[in-house]
Every structure is written in structure tokens, then in C-alpha cells.
């Protein structure tokens, strides 16, 4: 892994530092931490539908959390914040994971229908479990590491639907409060890994903009330590 091969993506590393900010569940916590680190986030919090929020020292670029490694790896953003779940699923992306920011804590779990032995039954009698997930690589690694065979079914929308309709025996998904599982008569069977927000950097930016990135990292570390 991590073999270097000639690539052709060519974004710029000049101008103010570009920070990829995750929209969605991590947005609120991210903006709070950025505020605490002395970075003005008022524009992002406003009604604007813009995606890029420039300022003198740092430009905030908002995007889906799962796109953050893509932009940071290519250098289209110098640094970024995203969930560990995203980094685990895209572990072949070459980004430097510099800091555990601690917020956005949730668990990657294997879940099945309440009171239903379908999960174990399928493994025992069919030698294979069908798992619906948005995280096929995390699911495959988990089953491989525990010596079981798995058929992952990648879905884009509500994963909970899969075991309820018989598409899959169980699901691998990210759980924050567990309410969605509860409402769909699903329960946690196994915990796979705990995930929090992480600060990541492009490897060239980490070298060429060392002072700026180190300074930002120190501020973020201070902000989450409070």
C-alpha cells in the first residue's frame, strides 16, 4: 500500500490555507471548535448557500464529509476535518491524520433485527452473512478479522431498510444515539470501532506550509482540550 505512482491532479497550494469543513452531522461541532480556535465561522453559519468562505488567513471550503479525503489528498484543500469512519473507509487515500478532535463521537456497529437470530443462523447454515452498509470496506475488514465470510451489499440510502425487507441479514452502520436503530426494531450486536472527528492534511502542504499548519493544529488542540 501507499506506493507512490505518478498522478496528474494539479490544484494549487498558494494563497490562504484552505480548510475542508464537513457539512452534515459534524458541521455544528466543527464550527464550534473553529470558533474556539479563533477562526471566524459566522459566514458559514449564515444563510448563504455558498460553498467557499474566504478570509485573509484561512479559506473554509464546505463539502460532504466523505469528500474531504479526496480534496485533501489532491491538495485542492490543504487541510480538512472529517470523521474517522470516512478515513477508515477510504484508507487508501494518502492524507496525514494529525489530530483526534474528540467530538462527533459515534460507534460503527453491526446490527440485526431485534430478537431475530437471522445473523448467526445465516453464518452457521449458509456459511455467509449478507450485510447492507455504506461502509463496505470497514464491514469486510471486520468480518475478515473475526474469521467470518461476508457478502456486503452497498446501499446509498437508509441502511435500516435492508434487514427489514430481507435484502440483508444485518447492517454495518454508524450509530450516534441509537434512536434510528430503536425506531426500526434493530439492535446492536457487535461494536466495531469508535469514531470521532479528525484533523487531516495534504502531505505536500504539510511540508511546504509547515508553520501555518502547525499553528492551526496547536490552536485546534487547545480548542478541543477545553
Amino acid at each position: 500500500m501507499n506506493v507512490e505512482v505518478a498522478g496528474t491532479a494539479a490544484p494549487k497550494l498558494d494563497g490562504p490555507l484552505k480548510l475542508a469543513v464537513p457539512r452534515g452531522a459534524l458541521l455544528e461541532g466543527t464550527l464550534d471548535v473553529l470558533d474556539a480556535a479563533g477562526i471566524d465561522t459566522a459566514a458559514v453559519r449564515g444563510e448563504s448557500r455558498a460553498l467557499i468562505f474566504p478570509s485573509e488567513r484561512i479559506t473554509l471550503v464546505t463539502m460532504r464529509p466523505s469528500d474531504v479525503p479526496t480534496y485533501v489528498e489532491a491538495g485542492a484543500a490543504d487541510v480538512g476535518i472529517t470523521g474517522k469512519d470516512v478515513l477508515l473507509e477510504q484508507s487508501d487515500r494518502l492524507v496525514y491524520e494529525l489530530l483526534d478532535l474528540g467530538y462527533g463521537r459515534c460507534r460503527m456497529v453491526l446490527a440485526g433485527r431485534k430478537g431475530d437470530e437471522r445473523l448467526g443462523e445465516a453464518q452457521r447454515r449458509l456459511g455467509m452473512t449478507r450485510i447492507a452498509t455504506k461502509y463496505p470496506r470497514i464491514a469486510e475488514r471486520h468480518f475478515e478479522a473475526t474469521g467470518r465470510q461476508v457478502e456486503t451489499i452497498e446501499v446509498k440510502g437508509s441502511v435500516e431498510l435492508a434487514p427489514l425487507t430481507g435484502l440483508a441479514d444485518g447492517i454495518v452502520d454508524l450509530v450516534a444515539t441509537g434512536r434510528t436503530l430503536e425506531e426500526n426494531e434493530l439492535e446492536v450486536r457487535e461494536e466495531i470501532v469508535e469514531c470521532t472527528a479528525r484533523f487531516v492534511a495534504n502531505r505536500v502542504a504539510h511540508k511546504l506550509r509547515a508553520a501555518e499548519i502547525d499553528e492551526l493544529m496547536a490552536k485546534l488542540r487547545g480548542a478541543v482540550a477545553r
Binding site: M1, N2, V3, E4, V5, A6, G7, T8, A9, A10, P11, K12, L13, D14, T70, E73, A74, G75, A76, D92, L94, Y96, E97, L98, L99, D100, R198, A201, N202, R203, V204, A205, H206, K207, L208, A210, A211, D214
Partner: protein, 330 residues
């Protein structure tokens, strides 16, 4: 009608080829002018011979059988084939030997986001010149190559491949944990690094030292900061880097060199100095190199060696991306 070509490969059409050719010629001219003679070796070699140089590239090698049932592989770089060539054709020759090349290499990586499976490399190998002088010469050739390519903003990272290996044995990290720790260091996964070091039974203070060391990068002051951290492994590594850096400074060639104690390259054969090349216009590494004093020995010739390789396509992209900033500057 579209007939497919394998993923990770591509055709080059005249407009691009013309520019690539100009870059080829400029680089080879720089190398030849400094006494590096161009060589070519076969793209296919016996797998056993390549694996002798670097067992780890085996992960991503293209392999196949020939009609006699021998296992062949496509080269994944030029350093190992040139080590093979020196052992076979230049045994006992007067050293140092200087070679340059411009060649395609092959790695069976997942072809995505512009990562190619077939890619062109241009580089040099300096065989029989020990550190620091040999390293200094290679860095200066690299600087001349970047100048010839017009990348005057490019930066060369200078690190030491043995620093963390020695540090881990100094800290008595268990043998079986070291590969995982070095892996975390190479990818700068600091969160994972702390976890791995903790699991290996390294004390909190020393964990903090390791993490801090891996983040030290910048000018000459970085060496002082590292020395302040102390310890035999750090002392030796900073002495090695310092020697090279000072020799470069004395020749006025340290301006674009960044000292980087966190630098680790994936290839298994590096020892001592390691190099990486960056340009502010590009988010990917342009190339790399360093010393591999133990590599030739694996082929039966005990000679120190150093070299570098630039990814030609990436240098070309950087050239194009640098055009606006050059126009602003002029």
C-alpha cells in the same frame, strides 16, 4: 470504435508528447553534463532478481510466466535493475559510477484519481560515493534538474531513514510492533502512531517525543530542536543530516532544502539520507530518493549508493501549473 487499454495506462498524443520530449531532453542534458551516462534495461526481469533488491515491491508487482515457466516481473523502479546491472557489468570497475535513465516503470496499484500503473521516471544513480559527499552531489544534480524543468519554487525534503528504526530499538520497542509503528510514521497517522506506541509499552513521555520528532521540518533550526530532544538515535541522525546540510550550505545549495525528521519512504532499501521533492503548485510528491548503501550488497557488490527519481508526468503537470505564477513574477 473504442478499443480499451488496461486501467492505469494511457496513450500520449503529439501535443503532450512534444512537451514531454522537451522535458526529457532537458533532464538528460543536465544528467549527462554532470557525467551521468544514460542506460536502459529491460522492462521485464526475473522476479527473483527484482525481489532480491526489494521484497516489499512484490506487493504491487506485475508478474507472469514465460514459455519456460520462469517467473518474470515488470520493474517497479530503475534503482533495483541498475543495481543488478552494476553487479553484473561493472564488478571491480573504478568508482564512483554515474548512471542516469528515463524509463517506464510499473506498479499494480488501484488505478484511480490519476494514479497510473505505467509511469515514466527520470533519475540518476551514483554508485560508490559514500555520505555525505555522494548525497550532496545527488542533491545538487536534483536541484539542477528542477532548475532545468523550470520549477524554481520546488523544495527538496531531506530526512534520515535510520532515525526511527534506531530510535525504536533504543526505546526497546518489541520487534513485532516496529513494522506497524514505522507504517504509521510513514503515513503520518499521528493518532494511530500514539496508539501503536502505547500498545508497544512505550511510556507517555517517549511517545510524545516520537510524535514531536516526526513533526520537525523546516530550516537548519530544526536540527537544534531535534538535538534538544536528545538520545543517541536522534543525535546520530541529526549529525548525519547536519553534515549533508552543512556541505550543501557551503556550496550555496541548501536554499531549497528542507530538513524533515519525519520523512520516511515506503521502499525497503533506503538507509541514511532520504529525499522527497515537492512543488507548491502540486498536491502530490514529484519524486524522491536517497541513500541505499546496503542495496548493492544484496547483489554481491558492497558499494555505497544514492540516487533520485522524478515522476515525469507529475513534473510536467507542475510545469504547466507554475506558468501563471511565473508570469506574475516576471
Amino acid at each position: 470504435m473504442i478499443h480499451p487499454i488496461p486501467p492505469g495506462t494511457r496513450d500520449i498524443l503529439p501535443d503532450e508528447m512534444r512537451e514531454l520530449r522537451r522535458l526529457h531532453l532537458a533532464l538528460i542534458e543536465v544528467f549527462e553534463a554532470r557525467g551521468y551516462g544514460e542506460v536502459a534495461t529491460p522492462a521485464i526481469e526475473y522476479d527473483e532478481v527484482l525481489a532480491r533488491g526489494d521484497g516489499r515491491t512484490a506487493d504491487s508487482a506485475y508478474r507472469f510466466f514465460d514459455e519456460r515457466g520462469d517467473l518474470l516481473a515488470l520493474r517497479s523502479d530503475m534503482t533495483v535493475p541498475i543495481a543488478r546491472l552494476v553487479a553484473g557489468r561493472y564488478a571491480g570497475a573504478e568508482t564512483p559510477l554515474r548512471f542516469c535513465y528515463l524509463a517506464n516503470a510499473y506498479r499494480a496499484v488501484r488505478p484511480q484519481r490519476g494514479q497510473m500503473r505505467e509511469f515514466a521516471q527520470a533519475g540518476v544513480e551514483l554508485i560508490g560515493a559514500p555520505a555525505p559527499d555522494g548525497t550532496v552531489e545527488v542533491v545538487q544534480v536534483l536541484e539542477a534538474a528542477l532548475d532545468a524543468a523550470g520549477l524554481d519554487r520546488a523544495v527538496i525534503g531531506l530526512g534520515d531513514a535510520d532515525l526511527f528504526r534506531q530510535l525504536l530499538s533504543e526505546l526497546d520497542a518489541p520487534e513485532e510492533a516496529r513494522a506497524a509503528i514505522l507504517g504509521r510514521l510513514a503515513t503520518h497517522d499521528l493518532v494511530g502512531l500514539e496508539a501503536e506506541l502505547g500498545e508497544a509499552g512505550i511510556g507517555d513521555e517517549q511517545v510524545a517525543t516520537c510524535v514531536a520528532l516526526s513533526q520537525l521540518r523546516g530550516g537548519r533550526e530544526v536540527l537544534e530542536q531535534a538535538r534538544a530532544i536528545g538520545g543517541g538515535a536522534v543525535e546520530r541522525a541529526t549529525a548525519r543530516i547536519g553534515e549533508t546540510y552543512e556541505a550543501l550550505e557551503a556550496r550555496g545549495a541548501a536554499g531549497r532544502v528542507q530538513v524533515d525528521l519525519g520523512l520516511l519512504r515506503d521502499l525497503g532499501y533506503y538507509s541514511g539520507a532520504i529525499l522527497e521533492v515537492y512543488d507548491p503548485a502540486l498536491g502530490h510528491v514529484l519524486g524522491g530518493g536517497g541513500r541505499y548503501d546496503g542495496l548493492l550488497q544484496r547483489f554481491g557488490v558492497d558499494l555505497p549508493a544514492a540516487g533520485f527519481a522524478l515522476y515525469l508526468e507529475r513534473v510536467h503537470v507542475a510545469q504547466m501549473e507554475e506558468e501563471p505564477s511565473r508570469e506574475e513574477g516576471s
